[in-house]
C-alpha cells in the first residue's frame, strides 16, 4: 500500500488524501498513517514552511502571526524515486 500511496503522490498535480483514499479504497485515516510512515522512512519529505523553524522571535511584533503557514508541500526524495522505479 505504501508504494501505491507514493505512486499516487508522484502522479498527482496536488495531494488530496481524501482522493487517494477513494482511489485506493482505504480510509483517509489510513492514508494519513501511510504518509507518516513514508515521511519517517525518508521516501517523502513534508514541508510545513516556517512552522518548524527554530528562529528565535525575540521581541518581533509579528511573532504571533509569523509562524503560520496554511500550506503543506510534499516532495519525493531520491530514495522515494528509486522505490518507484523498482
Amino acid at each position: 500500500m505504501l508504494k501505491d500511496v507514493l505512486r499516487e503522490i508522484n502522479d498527482s498535480d496536488y495531494i488530496s488524501k481524501a482522493n487517494i483514499a477513494i482511489k485506493l479504497n482505504r480510509t483517509e485515516g489510513l492514508i494519513e498513517d501511510a504518509f507518516s510512515q513514508l515521511i519517517r522512512m525518508g521516501y517523502i519529505i513534508e514541508d510545513k514552511g516556517v512552522n518548524n523553524c527554530n528562529i528565535s522571535c525575540g521581541n518581533c511584533p509579528l511573532a504571533r502571526s509569523c509562524n503560520k503557514e496554511f500550506i503543506t508541500s510534499i516532495a519525493i526524495t531520491e530514495k522515494g524515486y528509486k522505490l518507484l522505479q523498482k
Partner: protein, 670 residues
C-alpha cells in the same frame, strides 16, 4: 495481582475506558526517567483485584517517539497478563496497525472495539464474529463513555488470562522476509535476549535502531553480533522495513474485508467538485483575481470609509483633548509640539488605519481557514512552473503579503540555492501589511471612489514585477533545475470564528506593537530632525530634515513627487514602512498646523492624482524595511546580497514610478 494494560491510538477512547474500569480508584505518576504521565488503577472484578495500567496513546510500537518506547517497553518487559487494545470502531483499519504489532509480540490481546455508537451513526457495520476469527483474539464491542461493554471486556480479559485461548494469528510476511527472520532467529537461538526471540529477529530485519542498540548493550556474543552486522552489509540496498509495514497494512485490510461494511462513499467529494472549477488551468487565476478584488473592495468600503472615518475622528478628538490639557497645565511648547505633531499626528496617522487592517485580515483569515488560500497558492504554483520557476516560491510570496520577514524565512525550506535566492530577492515586491496605510492615505485623497481597484492593481503590479524579476534572475544570476514540490490541498471547511478572529487579532497586535515601538521611535527621530536647528523654522526646508529631503528630492523629481517632504518620508520608511505615513502626518500637519489641516488635505496640496499613483508604486517596490534587509543578511549570510537587494529594489521602484509618471504625463493625465 494480575496486570491488565490498556493500549490504543490517541483519541480511541482508551482513557475513557480506563476511567470506566477503575473509577476513582486510580493514581497518576510518571514513567521512570521521563515526564510522560503514567496512570494506574485498581479494579475489583468478581472478587479479585486487578491492576490496570493506561499506556500512552500511540499509533504504532516502533521507537520513534517517547510514547511508543514507553508502551513497547512496558508490553515487552512489564509483562502484563493481558492487553486490552482499544480500537476506534470508526477508524478500525488504521487502528489495527497497532493490533498487528501487538500480535507480533506474541502477547495475549483482547480488542475493545470502542465508540460503537458513533460508528453506528455513520452506518458502519461489523461482523464481530468474523473479525474475532480473522484476528484470532476476542473482539468486544464497547461504548466506554456510556459504560457499555465494560463487564464483557473484563470477562474476556480474565478468560484470556486464565483460559487456554490462543494469542492470535501470526502475520505472514513474504518469503524472503520470513527466510531472514528465521536466519536471525537461528543466529540468536542460544543467546540470552532482553525480548522474545521471534520479535527480536523481526525487529532486526526491520532495522529497528533501538532494538539493535539494546542488543549491543546486552550480553550477546560477538559472533552473533558479527553475523547480524554481516546480514546488514549484505542486504544494505534492500528495505525490508517498507515490506514489513506493508504486510501489516495488508493484514489489517484482509481482516476488515468482509467483516466491516462502510456506507458507499461518493467517488468524488464536494471538495473535488469545487476544486475542478477553482483550480482549473484557465479559470484558477481569474477566480483568484476576482476574489482578491472583492476582498480589497470590501476592505476599503468597510475598513476605510465606514470605520476609518470614526477612527480618524477619535484620534483627532483625542489629540484636541490632549492639546487642551497640555496647554492648561502650561506644558512647554516643545513638549506640546512633540506630543501633538510627533505622537498624535505621526503615530496617530498610522493607528487610524487599524480598521482597514482589521477588515483585510478578517477577510484573508476567512479565506485561509476555509482552505481557499491553499488553492490560490496551487493555482500560482502551476503558473510559476510554466514560467520555469519553483512553484513553491509562491507560498513564500503569499506569506510576504503579511510581512516579508517570514516570507523570506520560509524560503529556507526550499532545497536548492537557486530557488531560495530567487524567492528571497523577489519577496519584497509582495506588498506587506505595513504599506497599506500609505496606499490608504493616497487613495482617500485622490481615488476615494476606486479604493478597491487601486489596492488590487497595486498588489497585482507587485506580483507581476516579482514574476518578471524571478524569470530574469533564473535566466541570468541563478541557473539550474528547480526542485519539485507537490502541494497538499486540505478539504474545504467552514471557517471557525475563533480561528478567523485569532488570525485577525494577531495581525492587529503586530501592527499596533510596531506603531508603538519602531514607528514611534522613527517619528520621534524625524520630529527632532524636523525642529533642529533651533534657528530654522520648525518643519521647514532649512531644518536638518528639510536639508536631507532637499538633497534627495532631485533624485525623485522624474517620478513627479520631488518635494522634500515626500522624499524624506520615503527615507523614513526604511526602518518601518508605516513610518512613511507617520512622517507625512508629522511634516504636513506641522506645516499646516495653524490652519488645522488634515493629512489628506495636505497631501492634496502637494500631489496630483498621477504623482500620488507614482508615489504609491514607489512605496510598493522600493527598498524593503530594515527588518527585511536584516533577515536577508541573516539568511544569505552575505552583505553583498543585502546591498544588492537594497539597491536593485530601489532601482526597480524608481524606474516603474518614473514610467508611471512620464507615460501618464504623455497621455495627458494629471
Amino acid at each position: 495481582m494480575r496486570t491488565i494494560a490498556l493500549v490504543g491510538n490517541p483519541n480511541s477512547g482508551k482513557t475513557t475506558l480506563f476511567n470506566a474500569l477503575t473509577g476513582s480508584n486510580q493514581h497518576v505518576g510518571n514513567w521512570p526517567g521521563v515526564t510522560v504521565e503514567k496512570k494506574e488503577g485498581k479494579l475489583n472484578f468478581k472478587g479479585k483485584e486487578y491492576n490496570i495500567v493506561d499506556l500512552p496513546g500511540t499509533y504504532s510500537l516502533g521507537a520513534f517517539s517517547e510514547d511508543e518506547v514507553i508502551a513497547r517497553d512496558f508490553i515487552l518487559s512489564g509483562n502484563p497478563d493481558v492487553i486490552i487494545d482499544v480500537v476506534d470502531a470508526n477508524n478500525i483499519e488504521r487502528n489495527l496497525y497497532l493490533t498487528t504489532q501487538l500480535l507480533e509480540m506474541g502477547k495475549k490481546v483482547v480488542i475493545a472495539l470502542n465508540m460503537m455508537d458513533e460508528a453506528e451513526r455513520k452506518n458502519i457495520q461489523f461482523d464481530i464474529g468474523k473479525l474475532s476469527k480473522k484476528l484470532g483474539i476476542p473482539v468486544i464491542p464497547t461504548i466506554a463513555s456510556k459504560g457499555i461493554g465494560i463487564e464483557d471486556i473484563m470477562q474476556a480479559s480474565i478468560d484470556m488470562i486464565y483460559g487456554d485461548i490462543g494469542t492470535g494469528s501470526p502475520l505472514q510476511y513474504n518469503e524472503i522476509i520470513n527466510h531472514h527472520i528465521e536466519y536471525i532467529e537461528n543466529v540468536l537461538k542460544d543467546e540470552k535476549l532482553p525480548y522474545p526471540i521471534r520479535w527480536t529477529a523481526l525487529k532486526i530485519v526491520e532495522n529497528d535502531e533501538e532494538v539493535l542498540q539494546k542488543l549491543e548493550e546486552s550480553d550477546i556474543s560477538d559472533d552473533s553480533m558479527r553475523n547480524i552486522e554481516d546480514f546488514f552489509k549484505y542486504h544494505s540496498s534492500e528495505n525490508f522495513e517498507l515490506e514489513i509495514i506493508d504486510s501489516r497494512y495488508a493484514f489489517a485490510h484482509r481482516v476488515t474485508e468482509g467483516a466491516v461494511k462502510r456506507p458507499q462513499e461518493e467517488s468524488t467529494t464536494l471538495t473535488d467538485r469545487i476544486d475542478r472549477i477553482v483550480t482549473n488551468k484557465y479559470l484558477g487565476v481569474p477566480i483568484f483575481a476576482i476574489i482578491m478584488f472583492v476582498v480589497f473592495q470590501l476592505t476599503f468600503e468597510i475598513g476605510e470609509e465606514i470605520l476609518g472615518e470614526a477612527a480618524v475622528s477619535l484620534i483627532e478628538n483625542l489629540g484636541g483633548l490632549i492639546q487642551v490639557f497640555l496647554i492648561a497645565i502650561k506644558a512647554p511648547n516643545w513638549f506640546i509640539s512633540f506630543i501633538i505633531d510627533g505622537a498624535i499626528n505621526g503615530v496617530g496617522a498610522v493607528i487610524e488605519f487599524v480598521p482597514l487592517i482589521t477588515i483585510l485580515y478578517l477577510l484573508l483569515g476567512f479565506l485561509e481557514d476555509s482552505g481557499y488560500m491553499a488553492r490560490a497558492a496551487y493555482v500560482w504554483d502551476n503558473l510559476m512552473r510554466r514560467l520555469g520557476l519553483q512553484g513553491r516560491a509562491f507560498v513564500s510570496m503569499i506569506i510576504g503579503f503579511g510581512c516579508n520577514v517570514p516570507g523570506i524565512m520560509s524560503t529556507r525550506t526550499l532545497d536548492n540555492k537557486k530557488d531560495r535566492m530567487i524567492t528571497t530577492l523577489i519577496n519584497p515586491f509582495m506588498s506587506c501589511g505595513a504599506k497599506l496605510p500609505i496606499y490608504s492615505v493616497f487613495i482617500a485623497a485622490f481615488f476615494p471612489n476606486h479604493g478597491g481597484l487601486i489596492l488590487f492593481s497595486l498588489y497585482t503590479l507587485g506580483i507581476m514585477i516579482a514574476l518578471i524579476m524571478a524569470k530574469v534572475f533564473s535566466k541570468t544570476l541563478f541557473k539550474g533545475e528547480s526542485s519539485y514540490l507537490i502541494m497538499e490541498l486540505p478539504p474545504y471547511r467552514m471557517p471557525t470564528i475563533k480561528n478567523v478572529l485569532r488570525n485577525m487579532w494577531d495581525n492587529i497586535y503586530g501592527f499596533l506593537k510596531r506603531a508603538g515601538t519602531t514607528v514611534f521611535a522613527v517619528v520621534t527621530l524625524v520630529w527632532v530632525l524636523a525642529v533642529l536647528p533651533a534657528s530654522a523654522e520648525p518643519y521647514g526646508q532649512f531644518t536638518i530634515l528639510g536639508r536631507m529631503g532637499t538633497f534627495l528630492a532631485p533624485i525623485l523629481m522624474p517620478a513627479g513627487f520631488g518635494n522634500w517632504q515626500a522624499s524624506v518620508a520615503l527615507f523614513a520608511g526604511l526602518p518601518a514602512k508605516e513610518a512613511v505615513v507617520g512622517t507625512l502626518g508629522l511634516l504636513y500637519a506641522g506645516e499646516y498646523a495653524e490652519e488645522g489641516s488634515l493629512l489628506i488635505n495636505s497631501i492634496q496640496q502637494h500631489f496630483t492624482s498621477l504623482t500620488a499613483l507614482s508615489y504609491m508604486v514607489m512605496t510598493l517596490l522600493y527598498t524593503p524595511c530594515a527588518a527585511v534587509l536584516g533577515t536577508i543578511k541573516k539568511e544569505t549570510g552575505s552583505i553583498k546580497w543585502t546591498v544588492f537587494m537594497a539597491l536593485y529594489t530601489f532601482a526597480i521602484g524608481w524606474i516603474v514610478a518614473v514610467m508611471v509618471f512620464q507615460i501618464g504625463s504623455l497621455l495627458g493625465f494629471n
